[in-house]
């Protein structure tokens, strides 16, 4: 029995050993698996830490940096994390951050635009005010040296105004001034006025088209920016050529420069800006900020013209083409009273009728020379340029044959011709030196039909017609035909014939002479006697001096 016991113990021990061994092996396996898992998790943790570091160090700053120039944002550092909850979490952090940055950016941009706009409007107003002051000075001073200085100031002021205007437009403001519909040529030259190198710009063709009033200022500004670009990027000894081309659907302003040109990328970028679709951020214009193309883009989108830029210029530089559709064009008829728009709906633009009315008056004055609108504007400068029916073109041969001041020889065929001219001129002179020749009775007296007075009470002068003196040229004069010419002397101060006036003036002259001669010798006695027999019988003696003062205005 006893020898059975160790056997049993041995078996038990063996079984226990086996069990222990199995347990040990299993434990080792579990430990190894755990170790492996721990290692994996540790590595994952490290990857997440690194990813988090990457987020804060690289990805979020990239979002901030992408405000200035859009670049592709960096993704996850470890691709194994893609699709995990952790990656989603990171992505949502990124998104929130991007939104916050965008919002802050938009708010900053908006406030920057508002501030810039307000200040640029103020500057624009000042520039405009100064321009008016300069214009007044140019009118007032008739001295070349003063004019030269004023032109310089004017030039600087115009550029200053354009800069302010461009920035204001970019910030969402309106271009500012409302102008009358203007010829395309004037629009281009107006744009030329606003750039530094205006003397290098050459406008070649002349088109009869005009730009409607609401589009004048935007087109001027856009063309000015294009011209400024062209002049700035080409050598100072080259010219900038501008051509105006009427096309089927409107008109084109073609600007060619001989400058450095643009490469493909620049043209692409310019094209994107010129469409005006992308919102322009004032803080992303580069340093120094380049306003030109963004401003043109904004204006083009707002007013409906289009601008394209490419390198087709025959001079090797850039060719910019500004296309104006027919809706922005009108036609100014130089001789006719009316300006007809090309399309009826173009007329429904704001303020068109007003502009057209002005324009119409303006052009008629220029075309035919009958300017009556000016007196109100500059009564002091050009005293009475007013004339009523202007000698029309059929009359010019006469004007040519009879060149200088035709009325002056005509007047002295009055009986009292001897003392007449001297006294006459002396009498007329005080009414304004440059207006002196116009106040002679030859014009003021015998043409009652045409003489009126301006709103300011100044006398209007009929433009001197050669026909007034036509009697000694043999041509039947239209003017005397329409005058009443009673010959018997005027009834009132208003209607007095040339002879009558001349007789009175002659009497006055004789009185003057008579007064002068005895003044040297005897004192007052003969003076009283002399006019008694020298003066012609009847009226002239007494009313002449008094009446003549009232005469020229009549």
């Amino acid at each position: 029995m006893s020898h059975h016991i160790p056997d049993a113990v041995t078996w038990c021990l063996a079984a226990a050993l086996i069990a222990v061994a199995v347990l040990l092996v299993r434990q080792r396996g579990i430990a190894a698996a755990l170790r492996l898992r721990a290692a994996t998790l540790e590595e994952g943790q490290r990857a997440r830490d690194t990813e988090l570091g990457h987020l804060t160090a690289v990805r979020l700053p990239a979002v901030t940096a992408s405000m200035n120039q859009p670049v592709p944002l960096p993704g996850l550092l470890d691709e194994q994390l893609a699709g995990t909850v952790f990656a989603h979490g990171l992505q949502s952090v990124m998104d929130t951050f991007t939104q916050a940055v965008d919002k802050a950016q938009a708010r900053a941009d908006q406030s920057a635009k508002a501030a810039l706009k307000a200040s640029m409007r103020a500057l624009q107003g000042l520039a405009h005010e100064q321009q008016l002051a300069i214009s007044d000075m140019q009118d007032r001073h008739d001295n070349p040296d003063v004019l030269r200085d004023l032109l310089q100031i004017d030039h600087a002021n115009s550029q200053f105004g354009r800069r302010a205007q461009a920035i204001a437009v970019l910030c969402g403001s309106w271009p500012g001034r409302q102008r009358a519909a203007s010829p395309l040529t004037d629009v281009v030259r107006g744009a030329t006025s606003r750039i530094r190198d205006y003397r290098r710009v050459q406008v070649h063709s002349q088109a009869d088209l005009a730009v409607v009033s609401r589009a004048v200022e935007p087109v001027v500004l856009a063309v000015a920016e294009l011209l400024d670009n062209a002049a700035r990027h080409s050598q100072p000894n080259t010219t900038v050529e501008v051509g105006l081309q009427p096309v089927h659907n409107g008109a084109c302003i073609v600007i060619d420069d001989a400058g450095v040109g643009m490469d493909g990328q620049e043209i692409q970028r310019a094209g994107a800006l010129l469409t005006g679709r992308a919102t322009v951020d004032v803080s992303r214009l580069g340093d120094p900020p380049q306003f030109g193309f963004p401003v043109i883009g904004v204006l083009a989108a707002r007013y409906g013209f289009s601008v394209s830029v490419d390198t087709r210029s025959p001079y090797g530089g850039v060719r910019a083409v500004l296309f104006l559709p027919s809706t922005l064009l009108t036609q100014i008829d130089i001789d006719g009273p009316d300006t007809t728009p090309l399309r009826p709906q173009a007329e429904q633009g704001h303020g068109r009728g007003h502009g057209r009315g002005r324009e119409q008056g303006h052009r008629r004055e220029h075309g035919r020379g009958q300017g009556r609108g000016h007196e109100a504007d500059r009564p002091a400068a050009t005293h009475p340029p007013a004339q009523a029916p202007v000698p029309d073109f059929p009359d010019f041969p006469d004007a040519r044959n009879f060149p200088a001041a035709p009325d002056f020889p005509a007047a002295p065929d009055s009986p009292a011709a001897s003392g007449f001219p001297a006294t006459q001129a002396g009498h007329a002179a005080p009414s304004g030196s440059h207006a002196a020749p116009s106040d002679t009775p030859g014009t003021a007296g015998p043409v009652p039909g045409s003489v009126g007075s301006t709103a300011g009470g100044l006398p209007k002068r009929r433009r001197r017609q050669p026909a007034a003196g036509g009697s000694h040229r043999g041509r039947p004069a239209p003017l005397p035909a329409e005058t009443p010419a009673p010959g018997t002397g005027g009834t009132g101060a208003g209607e007095r014939t040339a002879e009558e006036t001349a007789r009175r003036m002659g009497a006055f002259a004789r009185g003057t002479r008579a007064g002068r001669t005895p003044a040297a010798g005897t004192p007052i006695g003969p003076l009283q006697g002399t006019p008694a027999h020298e003066a012609p019988p009847g009226a002239p003696g007494t009313p002449a001096p008094v009446d003549d003062e009232g005469n020229p205005p009549a």
Binding site: Q131, Q138, D142, P144, D145, L151, D154, H155, R177, R179, A180, S182, D186, R189, G190, T192, S193, Y198, R199, Q206, R358, H362, E365, H366, G369, G373, H374, D377, R378, A381, T382, H383, P385, V390, D392, F396, A399, P403, A404, A405, F408, A422, T423, A425, G426, S433, H434, A436, P437, R463, R464, G511, T512, A514, G515, R516, A519, I524, G541, P545
Partner: protein
Amino acid sequence: MTPPAPRHERGLVRPYVVTDGRAHPTRNTFDLVTLVLAQYDRPLTGLSPEKRRLMELCLGGPLSVAEIAGHLMLPVSVTKVLLGDLVDSGHLITRAPIPSAQLPEAQILQEVLDGLRARL
């Protein structure tokens, strides 16, 4: 016809563009009352718009410098620069203004007046 219209139009093309930056006329013979006459046989092609307008204005008959400036809505001094160019190119000729005669002295006029009054 509305008064502000010329002002608006004037602001568009500035005078330095009109004169090409010059302020001094090529000749110093213009006065406000100098009469300007157009020569009819000269072509108008190649002239700037202002010069063309000036010529069209003058083709209607002789005008004084002041009147031309008023019609063109340009300052007188700028008009003189344009006139100088056009006279140089033979488009225009000028005629001196009619000289104003000597004014009688105020004292004499006063005496005449007194005499006339005394005669009444």
